[in-house]
Point group: C2
């Protein structure tokens, strides 16, 4: 079973990495981009024996304890 986790900065939190990418795109001549936000994407391969609802709860705990900084970041979990 796979869990896909997206970790993104909350609205209003400055994103210097996204800004740098935005500026780099501009200087390469790419027009038409209004904003860039960069986040993290984590794929967890979970043991198949784990029931799906427990898996989601477990990954939520992992996000809260380690993967995301919930003061400035949101996370989103998909179990597949």
């Amino acid at each position: 079973m796979k869990a896909r986790v997206h970790i993104t900065l909350k609205n209003g939190v400055l994103d210097p990495q996204g800004k740098a990418v935005h500026n780099a795109l501009k200087s390469l001549g790419f027009e038409g981009v209004d904003d860039v936000r960069q986040g993290k994407y984590i794929e967890l391969q979970l043991e198949d024996s784990l029931p799906e609802d427990q898996a989601e709860e477990k990954v939520k705990q992992m996000c809260e304890k380690l993967l995301a900084n919930t003061v400035i970041e949101n996370f989103d979990i998909e179990i597949a």
Copy 2:
């Protein structure tokens, strides 16, 4: 219009960042995780005047030229 880009390491490419996360999860007592792979997630806010098919082509060029290292990384584009 929004473009969501996932950039992940190709299979077989070592992922020390993912390994570090995996070890950290283990030492926090999270069992049942077989593997962790970490990638990047980039959200691009594009001008709405751009037609959708052109947008996808443009973001593909951005990935090839700047966002992804296509020697070791795959990218995946979603236009929404």
